[in-house]
């Protein structure tokens, strides 16, 4: 057997498979630092870390390390962490807060480069990004459609873990003419 043939012995293949499996579905909790340093880190790679997370409703935005370690959280934890990580990995991200009739408001993180948004309700490996136009109105319409509900207004907001407060940048009202939306001109 040649040296090249030895390279692919059975034990090595098993070890390589395990490493590959671990990379795809991490068994241990990931940290914020790992998310900020691991390569590659695309929106899809980011979303793959949250496939097994549970949904739990909290009043406040959780600390990201708590969210990652407990693997429990909600849409705002996920969207804000996505904005934090992907924003630092060179992506143009926007946090959008969508208010719907009879529902708790929903937060998503829109990524301009992929024309899609991260949604905590979409965490499966095969579908974890939802395509949408870039305007808040388009994102809100898509979110409401997924909830099979009507939206009333939606706001783009910013959030920093240091301050711990959501700051609304602007609000789009569904009944207003789309041409009056603050992000309409920029999108066109």
């Amino acid at each position: 057997m040649t040296a090249a043939g030895n390279r692919f012995t059975a034990p090595r293949l098993v070890a390589a498979s395990l490493v590959f499996a671990l990379a795809l579905s991490p068994l241990r909790a990931v940290t914020v630092n790992e998310l900020l340093t691991v390569s590659p880190m695309t929106p899809r790679h980011f979303a793959n870390y949250f496939e097994d997370f549970e949904f739990v409703l909290f009043d406040q935005v959780q600390d990201p390390e708590v969210f990652l370690s407990t693997q429990r959280g909600n849409c705002q934890d996920y969207a804000i962490l996505g904005d934090y990580v992907l924003g630092r990995r060179g992506y143009d991200t926007h946090l959008v807060h969508v208010r719907m009739v009879g529902q708790i408001a929903h937060d998503v993180c829109y990524i301009t480069q992929s024309d899609s948004f991260l949604d905590y309700n979409l965490r499966s490996y095969y579908r974890n990004l939802e395509r949408s136009g870039p305007t808040v109105r388009e994102i809100a319409s898509r979110v409401a459609e997924m909830f099979k509900s009507n939206w009333t207004s939606a706001s783009e907001f910013t959030y920093t873990y240091e301050e711990g407060v959501k700051r609304m940048t602007f609000t789009v009202v569904k009944t207003d003419p789309p041409a009056e939306d603050p992000d309409y001109r920029a999108a066109k």
Binding site: D59, Q60, R99, V101, N150, T152, S153, S155, G164, V165, K166, M168, F170, T171, V173, K174, T175, D176
Partner: protein, 382 residues
């Protein structure tokens, strides 16, 4: 099916199609309007919820501030922070929601001013309490017109709520009207389509009736035609039978005539005298065998020849001079008989035979059409 029936049916179907298209378009428009109306209803609810939520936040913030002042619990302070953030969001949304409602927008801006003043007061109390400046806290609380300020916010919230409720009723009414319009449009369209389908049915039914009537008329005409054919066939059969009888009778008559003719011919042929049948112009048209026997010439040589080529009057025997006019022609022209005139027949060889000639005019009714000449061979004298 008749052309105009097909055209009518096509016309009906075009109308039905037009009604369906109109109803569909109008219904979709009404549904869109209804959805817009529904959006406006939801929008109004959101404004009402936001302003009432703001009032609730103000009260909660006051309570949390007092709690922090009394107990110094950090959780109360954190709660205040959340409440302020929530208040800011709710008022911001209410302000943006009422962007196109001038009166409400102005009231919301006024409400934001009042709430911000209250938040500033709460923050100043919190700051004083955090720095353990109880004197300042006490003076702030003592000078606070909290109840009045809250009342003013409450009054404004009630006013906005009341106005929004009116808008809500108005928008719900519009939405209801849209729904009713859609319902009326759809049912009217369905009813109209039923009427048009009934029209199609009527056209088809009337066409079937007309076709049945035409078929009956055709059958009747056919029967009449058959009757006429039968009658005409019977007439033809009768005429044919009659004609056959007539033909038979005519054949019998012809046979009788032929028989008579043959018999006459036999009589003439059996006569030993020479018999000539002449035309009016004195040409020979018929002879009997006695002529052939005496003259020695066959009938084709004699027929159409003048009588004078065979027979001439014997002027010597009659004792008369030569006449300028042929007495035979003259007798025929006058329709007279001439009897027992001496004459001479010359045969083929030029031999002459004395005969006595008798001529009778041949009459067809009153008109002389020819003549009969009979020659008797004169007895030989010694």
């Amino acid at each position: 099916m008749k052309d105009h029936t097909v055209k009518r049916i096509l016309g009906f179907f075009l109308l039905i199609f037009a009604v369906v298209v109109y109803v569909a378009i109008d219904s979709v428009r009404n549904i869109n309007r209804d959805m817009t109306g529904s959006d406006w209803v939801n929008h109004t609810h959101e404004v009402i919820l936001d302003v009432n939520g703001a009032l609730s936040d103000i009260r909660s913030a006051d309570a949390a501030v007092l709690s922090y002042v009394v107990a110094g619990d950090a959780r109360s302070k954190a709660e205040c922070k959340e409440i302020f953030a929530d208040l800011d969001e709710q008022l911001g949304v209410a302000r943006d929601d009422t962007r196109h409602e001038a009166i409400q927008h102005e009231e919301i801006v006024q409400l934001i001013g009042l709430c911000n003043a209250r938040v500033d007061f709460d923050r100043s109390v919190l700051a004083a309490r955090q720095s353990n400046d109880l004197q300042t806290v006490r003076s702030l609380l003592a000078s606070d017109a909290g109840v009045e300020a809250t009342h003013e916010i409450q009054r404004l919230v009630a006013k906005v709520t009341s106005e929004e409720m009116e808008l809500l009723a108005e928008r719900d009414h519009t939405s209801y009207d849209q729904g009713q319009t859609t319902r009326v449009t759809v049912w009217s369209g369905v009813a109209l389509d039923f009427v048009l389908f009934a029209g199609v049915g009527w056209v088809i039914w009337s066409d079937i009736v007309a076709r049945r009537r035409a078929a009956a008329a055709l059958q009747e005409a056919n029967e009449q035609l058959e009757n006429r054919v039968r009658e005409r066939t019977a007439e033809l059969a009768s005429a044919n039978e009659k004609l056959r009888s007539e033909n038979l009778e005519r054949r019998w008559a012809n046979q009788t005539l032929e028989h008579q003719l043959h018999y006459n011919q036999l009589i003439i042929n059996s006569i030993s005298d020479l018999v000539f049948v002449l035309t009016k112009s004195m040409n020979i048209s018929r002879i009997n065998p006695a002529v052939v026997h005496l003259v020695g010439r066959e009938p084709p040589d004699l027929i159409n020849q003048p009588l004078s080529s065979v027979v001439r009057l014997d002027m010597d025997r009659s004792g008369g001079a030569a006449l300028l006019v042929d007495p035979l022609s003259q007798a025929l022209a006058e329709g007279r008989d001439l009897r027992d005139l001496p004459a001479i027949v010359e045969d083929k060889m030029g031999r002459k035979t004395p005969v006595t000639l008798t001529i009778f005019p041949l009459r067809d009714r009153d008109k002389v059409v020819g003549g009969i000449v009979i020659l008797q061979i004169a007895p030989k004298t010694s």
